[in-house]
Symmetry: C2
Subunit: 149 residues, 2 copies
Protein backbone atom coordinates (compact mmCIF):
# COMPACT_ATOMS: atom_id res chain seq x y z
CA UNK A 1 0.00 0.00 0.00
CA UNK A 2 1.23 3.45 -0.92
CA UNK A 3 0.65 5.06 2.45
CA UNK A 4 2.28 2.20 4.28
CA UNK A 5 5.30 2.78 2.08
CA UNK A 6 5.36 6.46 2.86
CA UNK A 7 5.22 5.80 6.57
CA UNK A 8 8.06 3.33 6.33
CA UNK A 9 10.19 5.88 4.56
CA UNK A 10 9.53 8.36 7.33
CA UNK A 11 10.49 5.75 9.91
CA UNK A 12 13.73 5.10 8.09
CA UNK A 13 14.48 8.80 8.00
CA UNK A 14 13.93 9.03 11.74
CA UNK A 15 16.07 6.00 12.37
CA UNK A 16 18.85 7.42 10.25
CA UNK A 17 18.64 10.64 12.21
CA UNK A 18 19.17 8.63 15.38
CA UNK A 19 15.62 8.54 16.72
CA UNK A 20 13.94 5.47 18.12
CA UNK A 21 10.80 4.11 16.57
CA UNK A 22 8.27 3.65 19.32
CA UNK A 23 4.70 2.46 19.05
CA UNK A 24 3.49 5.99 19.68
CA UNK A 25 5.59 7.45 16.90
CA UNK A 26 4.51 4.75 14.51
CA UNK A 27 0.88 5.38 15.30
CA UNK A 28 1.27 9.13 14.89
CA UNK A 29 3.00 8.67 11.55
CA UNK A 30 0.28 6.27 10.46
CA UNK A 31 -2.38 8.80 11.22
CA UNK A 32 -0.55 11.71 9.63
CA UNK A 33 0.11 9.99 6.32
CA UNK A 34 -3.40 8.57 6.12
CA UNK A 35 -5.45 11.69 6.77
CA UNK A 36 -6.38 14.33 4.25
CA UNK A 37 -7.37 16.66 7.03
CA UNK A 38 -4.81 19.04 8.40
CA UNK A 39 -5.13 18.11 12.04
CA UNK A 40 -3.96 20.11 15.03
CA UNK A 41 -2.04 18.63 17.94
CA UNK A 42 -5.12 17.88 19.99
CA UNK A 43 -6.95 16.27 17.10
CA UNK A 44 -3.94 14.05 16.50
CA UNK A 45 -3.88 13.21 20.19
CA UNK A 46 -7.55 12.20 20.14
CA UNK A 47 -7.27 10.10 17.00
CA UNK A 48 -4.03 8.31 17.83
CA UNK A 49 -5.29 7.65 21.34
CA UNK A 50 -7.78 5.22 19.84
CA UNK A 51 -4.81 3.04 18.90
CA UNK A 52 -2.47 3.98 21.73
CA UNK A 53 -4.76 4.52 24.72
CA UNK A 54 -2.01 5.53 27.11
CA UNK A 55 -0.73 8.23 24.74
CA UNK A 56 -0.12 11.63 26.29
CA UNK A 57 -0.41 15.02 24.67
CA UNK A 58 3.19 15.80 25.51
CA UNK A 59 4.29 12.85 23.41
CA UNK A 60 2.27 14.17 20.50
CA UNK A 61 3.96 17.54 20.78
CA UNK A 62 7.35 15.92 21.15
CA UNK A 63 6.82 13.78 18.06
CA UNK A 64 5.45 16.64 15.98
CA UNK A 65 8.48 18.65 16.95
CA UNK A 66 10.86 15.91 15.91
CA UNK A 67 9.06 15.38 12.62
CA UNK A 68 8.99 19.08 11.82
CA UNK A 69 12.64 19.56 12.70
CA UNK A 70 13.55 16.72 10.36
CA UNK A 71 11.44 18.04 7.53
CA UNK A 72 9.10 15.06 7.49
CA UNK A 73 5.97 17.10 8.00
CA UNK A 74 5.06 20.75 7.74
CA UNK A 75 3.34 22.98 10.20
CA UNK A 76 0.64 25.32 8.95
CA UNK A 77 -0.08 28.03 11.41
CA UNK A 78 -3.54 29.44 11.21
CA UNK A 79 -4.91 32.29 13.21
CA UNK A 80 -5.87 30.22 16.20
CA UNK A 81 -4.17 26.89 15.97
CA UNK A 82 -1.31 25.02 14.47
CA UNK A 83 -2.03 22.31 11.95
CA UNK A 84 0.20 19.69 10.44
CA UNK A 85 0.42 18.07 7.03
CA UNK A 86 2.54 15.27 5.63
CA UNK A 87 2.05 16.34 2.02
CA UNK A 88 5.40 17.86 1.12
CA UNK A 89 4.88 18.20 -2.64
CA UNK A 90 4.20 21.78 -3.63
CA UNK A 91 0.55 22.58 -3.43
CA UNK A 92 -1.76 25.42 -2.56
CA UNK A 93 -3.56 25.33 0.77
CA UNK A 94 -7.18 26.25 0.23
CA UNK A 95 -8.44 27.62 3.51
CA UNK A 96 -12.18 28.10 3.87
CA UNK A 97 -12.90 31.26 5.82
CA UNK A 98 -16.36 29.99 6.65
CA UNK A 99 -15.89 26.46 7.99
CA UNK A 100 -12.13 26.50 8.49
CA UNK A 101 -11.51 23.43 6.38
CA UNK A 102 -8.17 23.17 4.60
CA UNK A 103 -7.83 21.37 1.29
CA UNK A 104 -4.75 20.86 -0.80
CA UNK A 105 -4.67 21.78 -4.46
CA UNK A 106 -1.93 20.40 -6.64
CA UNK A 107 -0.54 23.40 -8.40
CA UNK A 108 1.16 23.79 -11.71
CA UNK A 109 3.60 26.60 -12.33
CA UNK A 110 0.91 29.04 -13.32
CA UNK A 111 -2.12 27.99 -11.34
CA UNK A 112 -4.58 30.82 -10.87
CA UNK A 113 -7.65 31.40 -8.69
CA UNK A 114 -9.81 30.70 -11.73
CA UNK A 115 -8.33 27.22 -12.09
CA UNK A 116 -9.25 26.46 -8.52
CA UNK A 117 -12.81 27.64 -8.94
CA UNK A 118 -13.30 25.74 -12.17
CA UNK A 119 -11.81 22.49 -10.98
CA UNK A 120 -13.13 22.11 -7.46
CA UNK A 121 -15.53 24.98 -6.86
CA UNK A 122 -13.45 26.82 -4.28
CA UNK A 123 -14.12 30.55 -4.46
CA UNK A 124 -10.90 32.50 -3.88
CA UNK A 125 -11.40 35.79 -2.01
CA UNK A 126 -7.82 36.54 -1.08
CA UNK A 127 -4.44 34.98 -1.01
CA UNK A 128 -1.11 35.03 0.69
CA UNK A 129 2.29 34.10 -0.54
CA UNK A 130 5.25 33.41 1.67
CA UNK A 131 8.82 32.72 0.73
CA UNK A 132 10.91 31.11 3.43
CA UNK A 133 14.66 31.40 3.35
CA UNK A 134 17.62 33.54 4.31
CA UNK A 135 17.61 37.32 4.28
CA UNK A 136 20.68 39.02 2.83
CA UNK A 137 22.27 39.60 6.26
CA UNK A 138 21.84 36.04 7.43
CA UNK A 139 23.02 34.72 4.08
CA UNK A 140 26.16 36.83 4.36
CA UNK A 141 26.79 35.39 7.81
CA UNK A 142 26.25 31.83 6.63
CA UNK A 143 28.54 32.35 3.63
CA UNK A 144 31.37 33.60 5.85
CA UNK A 145 31.15 30.53 8.06
CA UNK A 146 30.98 28.27 5.02
CA UNK A 147 34.04 29.82 3.37
CA UNK A 148 36.23 29.65 6.44
CA UNK A 149 35.52 25.94 7.00
Amino acid sequence: MELEHKRQEMEQALRRAGYRITGQRKAILDYLVSTLEHPGAYKIFEEVKKVQPRLSLATVYNTLHVLTENGLIKMLTLRDDNRYESNLCFHINLICTSCGKIQDFEAGTHTSPEDVREKIGFEVMGYRMEYHGLCSECKAGADQKGESG
Copy 2:
Protein backbone atom coordinates in the same frame (compact mmCIF):
# COMPACT_ATOMS: atom_id res chain seq x y z
CA MET B 1 2.42 63.24 4.73
CA GLU B 2 1.52 59.95 3.11
CA LEU B 3 1.39 57.89 6.29
CA GLU B 4 -0.68 60.50 8.07
CA HIS B 5 -3.13 60.27 5.21
CA LYS B 6 -3.28 56.52 5.43
CA ARG B 7 -3.98 56.65 9.13
CA GLN B 8 -6.76 59.17 8.61
CA GLU B 9 -8.40 56.92 6.08
CA MET B 10 -8.31 54.08 8.54
CA GLU B 11 -9.87 56.31 11.19
CA GLN B 12 -12.63 57.23 8.80
CA ALA B 13 -13.28 53.59 8.03
CA LEU B 14 -13.57 52.82 11.72
CA ARG B 15 -15.87 55.77 12.29
CA ARG B 16 -18.09 54.69 9.43
CA ALA B 17 -18.25 51.22 10.93
CA GLY B 18 -19.50 52.78 14.16
CA TYR B 19 -16.33 52.62 16.25
CA ARG B 20 -15.06 55.43 18.42
CA ILE B 21 -11.68 56.97 17.79
CA THR B 22 -9.81 56.96 21.04
CA GLY B 23 -6.30 58.15 21.75
CA GLN B 24 -5.19 54.55 22.14
CA ARG B 25 -6.58 53.53 18.78
CA LYS B 26 -5.04 56.55 17.10
CA ALA B 27 -1.69 55.73 18.60
CA ILE B 28 -1.90 52.10 17.57
CA LEU B 29 -2.87 53.06 14.02
CA ASP B 30 -0.03 55.55 13.94
CA TYR B 31 2.44 52.90 14.89
CA LEU B 32 1.07 50.27 12.53
CA VAL B 33 1.13 52.46 9.45
CA SER B 34 4.58 53.83 10.23
CA THR B 35 6.48 50.62 10.87
CA LEU B 36 7.99 48.35 8.27
CA GLU B 37 8.39 45.62 10.84
CA HIS B 38 5.62 43.12 11.26
CA PRO B 39 5.08 43.51 14.96
CA GLY B 40 3.31 41.13 17.29
CA ALA B 41 0.77 42.21 19.88
CA TYR B 42 3.30 42.61 22.66
CA LYS B 43 5.71 44.58 20.51
CA ILE B 44 2.88 46.92 19.58
CA PHE B 45 2.00 47.22 23.25
CA GLU B 46 5.55 48.16 24.17
CA GLU B 47 5.96 50.69 21.38
CA VAL B 48 2.60 52.39 21.72
CA LYS B 49 3.00 52.53 25.47
CA LYS B 50 5.75 55.11 24.94
CA VAL B 51 3.02 57.45 23.68
CA GLN B 52 0.11 56.13 25.74
CA PRO B 53 1.69 55.14 29.05
CA ARG B 54 -1.52 53.85 30.59
CA LEU B 55 -2.19 51.55 27.64
CA SER B 56 -3.10 47.97 28.50
CA LEU B 57 -2.39 44.84 26.52
CA ALA B 58 -6.09 44.02 26.42
CA THR B 59 -6.70 47.25 24.56
CA VAL B 60 -4.07 46.33 22.02
CA TYR B 61 -5.74 42.98 21.44
CA ASN B 62 -9.14 44.58 21.25
CA THR B 63 -7.95 47.14 18.71
CA LEU B 64 -6.11 44.58 16.61
CA HIS B 65 -9.25 42.50 16.58
CA VAL B 66 -11.39 45.40 15.44
CA LEU B 67 -8.90 46.36 12.75
CA THR B 68 -8.59 42.81 11.46
CA GLU B 69 -12.34 42.25 11.44
CA ASN B 70 -12.76 45.38 9.40
CA GLY B 71 -10.05 44.48 6.94
CA LEU B 72 -7.81 47.40 7.86
CA ILE B 73 -4.83 45.25 8.76
CA LYS B 74 -3.83 41.66 8.19
CA MET B 75 -2.65 39.07 10.62
CA LEU B 76 0.29 36.89 9.70
CA THR B 77 0.51 33.86 11.83
CA LEU B 78 3.95 32.44 12.24
CA ARG B 79 4.87 29.32 14.07
CA ASP B 80 5.14 30.97 17.45
CA ASP B 81 3.42 34.30 17.33
CA ASN B 82 0.94 36.38 15.49
CA ARG B 83 2.14 39.42 13.60
CA TYR B 84 0.29 42.27 12.01
CA GLU B 85 0.79 44.35 8.90
CA SER B 86 -1.00 47.34 7.47
CA ASN B 87 0.29 46.80 3.96
CA LEU B 88 -2.76 45.50 2.13
CA CYS B 89 -1.43 45.66 -1.43
CA PHE B 90 -0.50 42.26 -2.71
CA HIS B 91 3.03 41.37 -1.84
CA ILE B 92 5.12 38.39 -0.89
CA ASN B 93 6.16 37.99 2.72
CA LEU B 94 9.83 37.09 2.87
CA ILE B 95 10.34 35.26 6.13
CA CYS B 96 13.91 34.66 7.23
CA THR B 97 14.21 31.25 8.84
CA SER B 98 17.39 32.30 10.57
CA CYS B 99 16.61 35.64 12.25
CA GLY B 100 12.83 35.60 11.90
CA LYS B 101 12.65 38.95 10.17
CA ILE B 102 9.80 39.52 7.75
CA GLN B 103 10.16 41.77 4.73
CA ASP B 104 7.61 42.62 2.10
CA PHE B 105 8.34 42.21 -1.57
CA GLU B 106 6.13 43.94 -4.11
CA ALA B 107 5.20 41.21 -6.50
CA GLY B 108 4.27 41.32 -10.14
CA THR B 109 2.06 38.68 -11.66
CA HIS B 110 4.95 36.36 -12.36
CA THR B 111 7.44 37.05 -9.63
CA SER B 112 9.78 34.13 -9.04
CA PRO B 113 12.28 33.20 -6.35
CA GLU B 114 15.05 34.26 -8.72
CA ASP B 115 13.65 37.79 -8.90
CA VAL B 116 13.77 38.03 -5.14
CA ARG B 117 17.34 36.84 -4.94
CA GLU B 118 18.50 39.16 -7.68
CA LYS B 119 16.76 42.26 -6.41
CA ILE B 120 17.27 42.11 -2.68
CA GLY B 121 19.51 39.15 -1.97
CA PHE B 122 16.93 37.01 -0.20
CA GLU B 123 17.66 33.32 -0.75
CA VAL B 124 14.41 31.38 -1.13
CA MET B 125 14.53 27.86 0.32
CA GLY B 126 10.84 27.07 0.36
CA TYR B 127 7.51 28.66 -0.09
CA ARG B 128 3.91 28.42 0.81
CA MET B 129 0.84 29.58 -1.01
CA GLU B 130 -2.54 30.00 0.57
CA TYR B 131 -5.83 30.86 -1.04
CA HIS B 132 -8.50 32.10 1.34
CA GLY B 133 -12.13 31.87 0.40
CA LEU B 134 -15.18 29.65 0.38
CA CYS B 135 -15.09 25.92 -0.16
CA SER B 136 -17.72 24.46 -2.46
CA GLU B 137 -20.02 23.40 0.41
CA CYS B 138 -19.95 26.77 2.14
CA LYS B 139 -20.40 28.54 -1.16
CA ALA B 140 -23.47 26.43 -1.87
CA GLY B 141 -24.87 27.33 1.54
CA ALA B 142 -24.22 31.02 1.02
CA ASP B 143 -25.83 30.93 -2.43
CA GLN B 144 -28.99 29.33 -1.07
CA LYS B 145 -29.39 32.02 1.57
CA GLY B 146 -28.68 34.72 -0.98
CA GLU B 147 -31.25 33.35 -3.44
CA SER B 148 -34.06 32.99 -0.91
CA GLY B 149 -33.59 36.57 0.43
